[in-house]
C-alpha cells in the first residue's frame, strides 16, 4: 500500500483484511509467498502444517491468543520485548528458518559473519 497516513491506510487495511503480522502468522505466510512464489492458500497450508495446525482448525492461523502462546513456545517472537518473549529479532528468524525449511538471507549472513554454524 502506498500514500496515506498510517491510521487511514495501514491500520484500516490491517484491521479489515490483514493476516496479523507477528501477532499471528502473517510474516510466516508472507515469507513463503516471497521466497517460494507460493499463492496465498498454498502458503497458509504450508505454514499451518509446519505449526501442527489441522485443516479444520485454520482459524488458529489468525487467532492472536493461540498464536501468541505458540510463538513464545517456538521462539518465533511476538509484539512484546520482555514479558517472557524469549527470542527476538535475529533469534526469531533463526527459529523461523528451521521451522519453515527456509534459507533466510540475514540468517545466512549471520552465520557467515559470526562463524557460528547451526
Amino acid at each position: 500500500m502506498g500514500y496515506g497516513d498510517p491510521a487511514g491506510m495501514a491500520i484500516a487495511h490491517a484491521q479489515a483484511a490483514g493476516m496479523g503480522g507477528v501477532r499471528t502468522t502473517g510474516d510466516l505466510v508472507a515469507r513463503m509467498m516471497m521466497q517460494k512464489k507460493m499463492r496465498l492458500p498454498e502458503a497458509k497450508k504450508y505454514v499451518a502444517e509446519k505449526l501442527g495446525i489441522k485443516e479444520n482448525e485454520m482459524w488458529k492461523m489468525t487467532d492472536e491468543i493461540f498464536m501468541g502462546e505458540k510463538r513464545v513456545e517456538l521462539g518465533l517472537g511476538g509484539v512484546y520485548g520482555g514479558q517472557g518473549a524469549k527470542a527476538k529479532g535475529i533469534e526469531t528468524k533463526i527459529n523461523i528458518s528451521r521451522l519453515l525449511d527456509l534459507e533466510i538471507n540475514c540468517v545466512e549472513k549471520f552465520k557467515k559473519f559470526s562463524g557460528i554454524e547451526f
Binding site: G2, M9, A10, V22, A30, M33, M34
Partner: protein, 345 residues
C-alpha cells in the same frame, strides 16, 4: 445512503444508483480492458460490501491476506513525527500488524539512493537484527530522472512535441539501460547486507521503455542474487507507450494491461507482482471499486506468481486523498480479499 466519489468527497446515492454504477463499471471495464465480466454472485457480494450500513467492514474469518508497504519509513516523518527508520519499521511490526516491511529513504528513487548505499546498508543491518518480519528495500525506478536536466540523456518529453520521435526513442533506450544497471547495483548491496528482497515501486511510470528496463533488471538480479526476492509494483493499469516499439520476449509493452504485465514480470523471474488499477476521481467509489475488483481478480487468475493489489491513495479503488477515509479503505480490503481473491495488498 452516504458514500463517496473517487476524490473522497461525500455523496448521497440511492441503492439503485449504486447498483447502476457497479453494472456500468463491470461493462465498461470488460470492454476497455478486454477482461471477463464479474459474475452475478460476485456483483451481489460487492454490492453488499459497498452498501453495508457499518462504517467499517471486514473480511470473514479465514479470508485474511498479507500486507506490504511502500515507503513506510517516510510515513511518520511526513506527519512531522521524527521517528528514525529502524523505529518506524519496529512500529509497523509491533503496533500496526504489518506482515512485511520495507527500508526506504525519503529520497525514494534508485538513482539517488545508489550514491549513499553504505548508509542504507548500515540502517538495514540494525533493522534486520531487531525485527522478525521480512524486510525488503524499496524505491522507484523513476526513469525520468535520467533525462535532462536531472540526468545525462536528452529529455523525451521535450523531443516528442518537436516531432523528434526517433531521438526520443533513443533517449529512452539509453536511460532505461542506465536505470537497469542502477537497479542491479542496488540489489547487489542489499543482497550482501542480508535483506529479504527488493521492491520496485511505481515501475513503468515513465512508460514502456522503463518497464523493459525493470524486466531486464529482474532477470539479472534473479541470476546474480537468487537469495533476494523481487517485488514489482506497477504505476498504471496499462503501460504508457512513450516509446511505442519496445518488446519483451516478443510482446509489445505499450498498452499492456495489468494481467499481461503480471505474465511478463513472472517470465522475467519476479516473485511478487503488484497490480495497479487507477481511480477515476469523477466516478463514484462503487464504480471505482468494481473496476478494481474486476481487473485484480482476472490478474490473479492468470498470474503464476502471487498478486498483491496496490491499494494506496488513488489506486485499487481507494479514493484520491492523503487522509484515506476508513469506510472506503476497509471496503476495498474486504472486496479485494474476498471477491478478487488476491494474495495480498
Amino acid at each position: 445512503m452516504l458514500t463517496r466519489m473517487g476524490d473522497a468527497s461525500m455523496v448521497e446515492m440511492s441503492y439503485d444508483e449504486i447498483v447502476a454504477d457497479v453494472n456500468a463499471a463491470n461493462e465498461e471495464t470488460s470492454k476497455k480492458a478486454k477482461c471477463p465480466m464479474l459474475s452475478k454472485g460476485d456483483m451481489d457480494a460487492l454490492i453488499d460490501i459497498i452498501c453495508n450500513p457499518s462504517e467499517f467492514v471486514s473480511v470473514k474469518r479465514g479470508n485474511e491476506v498479507c500486507l506490504t508497504y511502500d515507503g513506510p519509513c517516510s510515513k511518520f516523518i511526513r506527519m512531522g513525527v521524527e521517528l528514525n527508520r529502524g523505529q518506524a519499521v519496529q512500529v509497523y511490526e509491533n503496533a500496526l500488524m504489518a506482515d512485511t516491511s520495507e527500508l526506504s529513504s525519503v529520497q525514494y528513487s534508485f538513482k539517488l539512493q545508489n550514491t549513499y548505499y553504505p548508509e542504507e546498508q548500515g540502517a538495514a543491518k540494525q533493522i534486520l537484527h531487531n525485527t522478525t518480519l521480512p524486510v525488503v528495500y524499496g524505491a522507484m525506478p523513476n526513469m525520468s530522472l535520467y533525462a535532462k536536466p536531472d540526468g545525462p540523456f536528452e529529455n523525451p518529453a521535450e523531443l516528442l512535441p518537436q516531432g523528434k520521435v526517433k531521438e526520443a526513442q533513443e533517449a529512452q533506450e539509453q536511460a532505461a539501460a542506465m536505470m537497469r544497471d542502477n537497479l542491479v547495483f542496488c540489489a547487489k548491496h542489499m543482497s550482501e547486507i542480508g535483506l529479504d528482497g527488493i521492491d520496485f515501486d511505481t515501475a513503468a511510470s515513465a512508460g514502456d521503455a522503463e518497464f523493459l528496463g525493470c524486466l531486464e533488471a529482474i532477470e539479472e538480479i534473479k541470476r546474480l542474487y537468487p537469495d533476494l526476492s523481487v517485488l514489482i509494483g506497477m504505476s498504471g493499469e496499462f503501460v504508457l507507450g512513450m516509446h511505442g516499439r519496445v518488446k519483451y520476449k516478443g510482446k509489445r509493452l505499450a498498452g499492456m494491461w495489468c494481467y499481461d504485465q503480471a505474465l511478463a514480470c513472472a517470465e522475467a523471474g519476479a516473485d511478487v507482482f503488484g497490480a495497479v488499477v487507477n481511480v477515476n476521481c469523477s466516478k463514484s467509489f462503487a464504480w471505482n471499486l468494481t473496476k478494481a475488483v474486476q481487473l485484480y481478480k482476472y490478474t490473479g487468475e492468470v498470474s503464476p506468481i502471487p498478486v498483491f493489489g496496490n491499494v494506496g491513495m488513488g489506486v485499487g479503488g481507494v479514493p484520491m486523498s492523503d487522509i484515506p477515509p476508513r469506510d472506503c479503505v476497509s471496503r476495498v480490503s474486504t472486496a479485494l480479499a474476498e471477491i478478487a481473491k488476491l494474495d495480498g495488498l
